[in-house]
């Protein structure tokens, strides 16, 4: 997949490939795309490490490379962000790196840093949460000598003969980096085609990551299949929308689409059908509203650290792309479409909250909560003002940290059979581990949007921006939904604090340094962003997208 990205990055713009006139070397602003290149480059190196480093030493090497790459990318991003405020398009106008994009990149990098920490942890699940081959229902490897009925399942594209026996499936690191690279491109894509390629580059590794759980293989694989099928389905929608918009505007450059919407003689059917289909594809990725069907299943089935990565980073990428699309390409036509997204936002909130109340599994519950949050994010996304953009960006950052930490904590509560995700297992957790319960409570309160947490500041920012843009009714609906959603979280707090624990219930694992670091990062940022939001708001408000 990196190949595709590389190809997308390396090949000249579409018009130049087959044309017989001599092609100019497009100028590349290396400073602007350095973070992207570092991440993708590290992913490639990760693949080589998989190939050449002996199995026993892969884990430390991979962890080192991944974390270092993300850090380095962050450093370069910081340096670049200091330099410019105006933004620029580069790589033959396929990428547009502006202030908002830089913010999204920063968000993605720091969130994926946390997610990588979670993924890297081997202390909670001995040997890490990922494995290539195990036998179907039985856990882990069968003892030697038992006849193996179902042969081991080669789950990744490449079978690995013995990696299942020891250690961890270290392919997750390059996969994560590839996915991260795709997300970064996605937020910066300046034309729909690049966006589509990026969408796939970010999705395909995720599909695989979902299916790599060491425990509960069937669930995990099922999640992968569902995610894959529905994801591919949604990509097809996006693509058809792309084709229609191409037919409408004669180009897939966002700026040219914008120009066309401002005044085009072509049929508006193409425009709105295309826009609708493209947006459906994006909404699917962001697990919004009626396009959420995959979310609970995938969140439930995927390894928890991957779920954390998905929940935090994918959302950022999807909404980053959506924001870019709406702000850059479709602002002029917003009066025609904005009520549709209005409805979607409401539906998403309602679905998330109402169905979330019926869930008995903590991961599914958080999944529905993420759907509700997607609804809130939609409120910000359709607020096409600078303030709305800044607010949505801030919300994404805040939500990402919180949800990352949530899944970090979820991975700690375990029974002998793996993670205890059933809500009933969480009863009385405060008595077993007050610290974990306290941290989780704080995070849940942040999800609920209680003041002094980042969740509140995010909601506030989004809602006030939407209100200022004249969407008061939507804001009121959103606030009511938040109130209802609070019940979702309070329910868990009640369970943890005021119920008696089951003597056979789960234990709370002592997290290793990695998980501790990730959870701490999430919690501290949740608190900091809630108390001193200016840290990020300032940056988020620097400027908008460029094209």
């Amino acid at each position: 997949m990196g190949v595709v990205a590389q190809a997308g990055a390396a090949l000249p713009p579409p018009s130049g490939v087959l044309a017989q006139q001599s092609a100019e070397m497009p100028s590349i602003q290396y400073a602007a795309v350095a973070p992207l290149m570092i991440v993708l480059g590290a992913a490639c190196i990760g693949v080589l490490v998989e190939a050449f480093v002996p199995a026993g030493r892969r884990w430390p090497v991979q962890v080192g490379i991944s974390l270092l790459a993300v850090l380095l990318a962050g450093v370069f991003l910081g340096l670049h962000a200091q330099e410019i405020n105006t933004g620029a398009t580069t790589l033959a106008e396929t990428l547009a790196v502006g202030p908002a994009t830089l913010f999204l990149w920063g968000t993605l990098l720091v969130l994926s840093f946390g997610a990588l920490l979670l993924i890297a942890d081997r202390s909670i699940e001995p040997g890490g949460a990922f494995v290539a081959e195990t036998n179907s229902v039985s856990e882990g490897r069968p003892p030697a000598g038992t006849p193996v009925d179902a042969p081991g399942a080669a789950s990744a594209a490449v079978m690995d003969r013995a990696a299942g026996a020891v250690g961890m499936r270290t392919e997750v690191f390059p996969l994560t980096l590839f996915s991260l690279g795709g997300m970064m491109v996605f937020c910066a894509a300046n034309d729909l085609l690049t966006m589509f390629v990026a969408l796939e580059v970010l999705s395909l590794p995720l599909y695989l990551l979902c299916g790599l759980a060491r425990r509960r293989r069937l669930l995990s694989q099922e999640a992968a299949v569902k995610y894959f099928l529905l994801g591919a389905f949604a990509s097809a929608f996006f693509l058809y929308g792309l084709a229609l918009l191409y037919g409408y505007a004669g180009s897939v450059q966002l700026s040219e689409i914008a120009a066309a919407t401002a005044g085009s003689l072509r049929s508006d059917t193409l425009l709105f059908a295309g826009l609708g289909l493209v947006v459906v594809g994006l909404l699917f990725k962001g697990s919004v509203g009626p396009f959420h069907l995959w979310t609970p299943d995938v969140y439930h089935g995927a390894p928890t650290s991957v779920t954390g990565f998905m929940a935090a980073c994918t959302k950022v990428a999807a909404f980053g792309g959506l924001l870019r699309l709406l702000h850059v390409a479709f602002e002029a036509s917003s009066w025609e479409w904005h009520w549709v997204l209005w409805t979607v936002a409401v539906l998403s909130m309602v679905i998330g909250v109402v169905l979330g109340l019926t869930q008995q599994d903590i991961k599914r519950m958080i999944a529905y909560s993420s759907i509700a949050h997607a609804g809130f994010l939609m409120v910000g996304s359709i607020t096409l003002t600078d303030r709305g953009l800044a607010a949505t960006l801030f919300y994404l950052l805040a939500y990402g940290f919180t949800t990352l930490a949530v899944f970090g904590v979820v991975s700690l509560v375990r029974t002998s059979e793996g993670e205890a995700t059933d809500l009933s297992d969480w009863a009385g957790l405060a008595k077993r581990s007050p610290l974990v319960a306290g941290v989780f409570t704080f995070l849940l309160l942040a999800l609920a949007g209680i003041p002094a947490t980042s969740g509140f500041m995010g909601k506030f920012a989004v809602f006030s921006a939407a209100f200022s843009a004249g969407m008061a009714p939507l804001v009121v609906i959103a606030l009511l939904a938040s109130a209802l959603a609070a019940y979702l979280y309070i329910r868990v707090i009640v369970l943890m604090f005021f119920n008696d624990p089951d003597p056979n219930g789960p234990t709370v694992s002592v997290p290793g340094a990695f998980t501790t670091a990730a959870v701490t990062l999430g919690v501290v940022m949740t608190l900091l962003l809630g108390v001193v939001p200016m840290l990020a708001l300032d940056w988020a408000s620097v400027g908008g997208f460029v094209s």
Binding site: V148, M159, R161
Partner: protein, 444 residues
């Protein structure tokens, strides 16, 4: 649009029909002749006469065989998937016939007063037509094996398909250097580009890769594993009989002809007269109907090599065969393409000042890549498989260990007891349980 395309484009419909029928007839006749020639040549090589009864030198032998096949019973196994079973030979034979239509057999000629080129179709993407037909042909194989409802054809088909697609990669990669130099995908364009030098000399590695891939692609010896009689009965067409079988046979030989013709076109200058001859009479031997002769000669020499190989080389093991394709041909082709691209690009860029530098850089890149591709291989990376673990095959099936220790004959050390069970003699001086310890670990 080049000259050939214009010539062909002006063809009236009757001429097109003549060419179509002519091409068809040519291919069928070539098939019959090739089969006969193969049997005769191999016979000679093996110190026996070969077919010599039907017609002069037995030349009608293949025709007789074909007719005989037509009058054989047409069997369709009960487990077969009817329509696919019937469709498969058609799918196999049709693209084989179509693929040849883009091959330029000769240059410009006049037929019944109409100026035209000796080529059925001239397209800007001719080479892709060949590749596409080769790919579709695989469907015929897979469908035949699958629809037969029988294990041997299925396995044969899988092998065959895997083999064909593996070597298709190598084949496709070998085209790239040629295209790079010809600057076109059109076959006549490629032939025209070789006017001043055939590509097999300019691009020797591509030629070698193509020559090998060509044999693999057509499932010919020494790469005829799908039809390995001793292992898989008859490969994917085990369950076929009568004319359906004949179609597969036909397809195989037409493919041979096609790949040979393509080799001629891509690397041996197509219909151009060979070295000393094109100097004769200011190139008169490159005009009119002469080129057909050169073309046929070149193609037939390739066909002869096919036969020669079959007679000479033993069949490869499947893993050897796949290794050759994936671990030698493909990577080296990639390296080769890099090198060719770099050298050509640098030369065209007229970067005289930095040329040396870039050459060195390219050399380093290539050297690194070669190194990289040479480093791996041999032992599978994860050697830490513990002693007591079941070794997994590719698909994760448990297989018995190779060093299976044959248990000693129980008769030698046991005596029948009263209860009828056998027990180890006490003088063996061993615990009774030790016998179980000696049981091969890997087998439990």
């Amino acid at each position: 649009m080049n000259e050939t395309a214009r010539l062909i484009g002006d063809d009236p419909i009757w001429l097109i029909l003549i060419k179509v029928v002519g091409t068809f007839a040519f291919l069928v006749v070539m098939t019959l002749l090739t089969i006969w020639a193969e049997r005769r040549v191999i016979g000679r090589m093996q110190q026996r006469p070969g077919p010599n009864r039907a017609g002069p030198f037995g030349m009608l032998q293949s025709l007789a065989d074909g007719l005989k096949l037509a009058f054989k019973e047409d069997i369709r196994p009960v487990l077969a998937d009817k329509w696919i079973y019937i469709l498969a030979p058609v799918v196999s034979a049709t693209p084989a016939l179509v693929a040849f239509s883009v091959i330029p057999v000769g240059g410009e000629v006049t037929i019944f007063g109409e100026r035209t080129a000796l080529q059925l179709v001239e397209l800007p993407v001719s080479l892709l037509v060949v590749l596409a037909c080769a790919s579709i042909g695989v469907y015929g194989i897979v469908l035949a094996g699958w629809s037969s409802g029988s294990p041997y054809p299925l396995l044969g088909a899988l092998r065959s398909a895997a083999q064909v697609i593996s070597y298709e990669i190598a084949m496709g990669l070998s085209f790239i250097a040629v295209i790079l130099y010809a600057g076109t995908l059109s076959t006549s364009g490629i032939v025209a580009a070789q006017e001043n030098g055939w590509f097999f000399a300019l691009l020797p590695f591509s030629f070698v890769v193509y020559a090998i891939a060509m044999v693999g692609e057509t499932n010919r010896a020494p790469f005829d594993l799908p039809e390995a009689e001793s292992e898989l009965v008859g490969g994917f067409h085990t369950e076929y009989s009568s004319l359906k079988f004949a179609l597969f046979f036909l397809a195989e030989y037409i493919n041979m002809v096609t790949v040979s013709a393509l080799a001629t076109t891509l690397f041996l200058g197509g219909w151009h007269a060979p070295w000393p001859l094109y100097l004769v009479g200011d190139g008169v031997l490159n005009t009119g109907w002469w080129p057909v002769l050169w073309f046929l000669l070149k193609t037939m020499s390739f066909l002869f090599v096919f036969v020669w190989l079959r007679a000479t080389l033993p069949r490869l093991r499947y893993d050897q065969f796949m290794n050759l394709g994936w671990k030698v041909l493909v990577p080296l082709s990639l390296v080769w393409i890099c090198a060719v691209t770099a050298i050509r690009g640098v030369r065209n860029a007229d970067l005289l000042g930095s040329q040396q530098f870039l050459f060195i850089g390219g050399g380093v890149v290539v050297a690194l890549l070669i190194l990289a591709f040479l480093v791996p291989d041999r032992k599978p990376p994860e050697e830490e498989t513990a002693e007591n673990e079941v070794p997994l095959s590719g698909g994760g099936y448990p297989v018995p260990p190779v060093d299976l220790k044959v248990p000693e004959n129980p008769r030698a050390t046991t005596v029948p007891t009263a209860s009828g069970t056998r027990s180890r003699l006490p003088e063996a001086g061993q615990e009774p349980t030790s016998s179980t310890k000696e049981a091969p670990d890997g087998n439990d």
